[in-house]
Amino acid sequence: MLFANSHKSQKWALIAVALFYLALVLVIPALVVFVEAFDDGIGGFIAALQSRNFQKAMQLTLIATAITIPLNTLFGLCAAWVIARNRFPGRALLISIIDVPFSISPVVAGLMLVLLYGERIGWLGPLFASIGIKIIFALPGIVLATIFVTLPFVAREVIPVLEDLGPEPEEAARTLGANDWQTFCRVILPNIRWGLIYGILLTNARALGEFGAVAVVSGSILGRTSTLPIFVEQSYQNYQSVAAFSAALVLAGFGVLMLIGKAILETYYLKKSPSH
């Protein structure tokens, strides 16, 4: 009897520790952002959102994210299919290369892009400059940096799901007359759905919040090439804490919206079929 009780109290102790840790690291900071954003009341918050610099920053962030997600999703799907369904020399190397963005500091990634595309000093910079395309300190550079840091997510989420699925359902579909596109839409996609969605969500989250690489590549020119995360940092450095926290709250809001969306999708599909 005594033994059983101490077991139970151990369980609750562990839960308490976990909750405390979460509160410290996640909940309290989030609450602080919320409170500080409304330090000047709702009016202050709305004024911050209406400032030209904020609007431009949000625009840049959303555009870069909107371009990055479809491109990296396409890449991730292709890479995952090639890797999961084939054995070829260099396969392990390819997997490692896809993981490179994880192992490089984002600032280093940004510097890499500057060295490659910088107008005067870059390897390819003069080439693009000659046809009138500005990469560094402009939107293309921001997009490239965002693509780089979010590259692995979709591939890494989809590869294990595809490997788990095995080649047989695809072979079965082909014996039944399905061509590659039909096989992809009717057999592969429905089965990798959740891995794909999660990968896209991660890509989205990282693209919205990326700081280091984009800061280096964009030059962080307020009102011109500052994305939302950079705007948050710059506002804070300029002692405009309401602006900073308001922008931060908007960023956090995007994150929450995504998670709600995911939860809705999951509940909907859970109701539809028991196989999930």
Binding site: G166, E168, P169, E171, A172, A173, R174, T175, L176, G177, A178, N179, Q182, R186, V187, P190, N191, S273, P274, S275
Partner: protein, 343 residues
């Protein structure tokens, strides 16, 4: 008509999976590809299906050359060992898959699916998902799905390999009855010789990428072409050839089936002395393990009456007659030497 395979070879890296294989599957017959792992039987089946491209050779199905057609164009039905059902679709949707690819009209699809559900006797389970079915039910759905598009031939890759022994036996019988009903040219792969013997019209025995023998179950059992076939189909005793004095010296061994060994108490001119080392009761009969002299083990099978008539027991000395011994040439014996196969 039927399936014709001509001079097919296939290599995976260093491994020769198929070595100049040729085969004819008569129209409407149910043929088993039987052999151990690595014998090439699955590779051959997949080559016929178009899932594997041979390095050389040709394939015809119903008189039409298929060698350069992809799997979608060959109009075959394929059943996989692990069912390969679409787990995100219901039973009905699985069966309807091929029909929907061909853009068959909704009412026709429904009719055909119902027809097939009747055939596989799963009428009430159309709206279930594969995860909610037993292994045997899943395989029946896989079969219905393959048959839905009215294929020219039916190919099954170890269809019962993933099932329990009893379910396997039931489905085996069911497949054979289904074949009598539908009469579609069918080829199935198995490593279970009992299964091949029970289900197939003809058995193709394969080993190391080559065909050892093609024949009816009886032909293959009673008149094996090579030592490998004799060892793989049914049980066999391998004895040094000097023991069977009626045989000319061909090769170093003679092969004797356990039921071709007569146990008796009297000595005769051709009998051999042996000691009974072990007796195993097998329901319908008895398996008697003996030792010839002190070095050569022998296994005999008798029915209960025969055994009880002898009135001998373990440890006793008896006389043994080799009623039917088969010998092969030296060259054939060399090829059959594989430790995995000796029973």
């Amino acid at each position: 008509m039927g399936i014709v395979v001509e001079d097919i070879s296939k290599r995976f890296g260093q491994f020769q999976a198929l070595d100049h294989v040729g085969l004819v599957v008569p129209d409407g017959k149910l043929v088993a590809l039987l052999g151990p792992s690595g014998s090439g039987k699955s590779t051959l089946l997949r080559a016929i299906a178009g899932l594997e491209a041979p390095d050389q050779g040709k394939i015809w199905i119903n008189g039409q050359e298929m060698t350069h057609l992809n799997v979608q164009e060959r109009q075959i039905g394929f059943v996989f060992q692990h069912y390969a059902l679409f787990k995100h679709l219901t039973v009905r949707q699985n069966i309807a898959f091929g029909l929907e690819i061909r853009k068959v009209k909704g009412t026709e699809v429904r009719r055909r699916v119902n027809e097939l559900l009747d055939l596989i006797q799963l009428q009430g389970l159309g709206d279930r998902y594969p995860a909610q079915l037993s292994g045997g039910q899943r395989q029946r759905v896989a079969l219905a799905r393959a048959l839905a598009v009215q294929p020219q031939v039916l190919l099954l890759d170890e269809p019962f390999g993933a099932l329990d022994a009893q379910v396997r036996k039931d489905l085996r019988r069911w497949l054979r009855d289904l074949h009598h009903q539908v009469n579609l040219t069918s080829v199935f792969v198995t490593h279970d010789q009992e299964e091949a013997m029970e289900v197939a019209d003809e058995i193709v025995i394969m080993n190391e990428g080559r065909i050892e023998q093609v024949g009816t179950p009886q032909a293959v059992y009673d008149h094996p072409a090579t030592p490998f076939v004799m060892k793989f189909v049914g049980e066999v005793n391998i004895l040094p050839s000097f023991l069977d004095r009626t045989y000319p010296q061909a090769g170093s061994s003679v092969f004797v089936r356990p039921h071709a060994i007569k146990i008796q108490s009297e000595r005769t001119a051709t009998s051999l002395a042996a000691t009974i080392t072990h007796v195993v009761y097998r329901g319908w009969g008895v398996q008697v393990e003996l030792m010839l002299g002190d070095r050569i083990p022998l296994t005999a099978q008798l029915d209960r009456q025969e055994w009880e008539g002898l009135e001998v027991a373990m440890g006793e000395m008896v006389e043994v007659e080799l009623r039917e011994a088969i010998a092969f040439s030296e060259a054939q014996e060399q090829r059959a030497n594989s430790p995995l196969l000796l029973k």
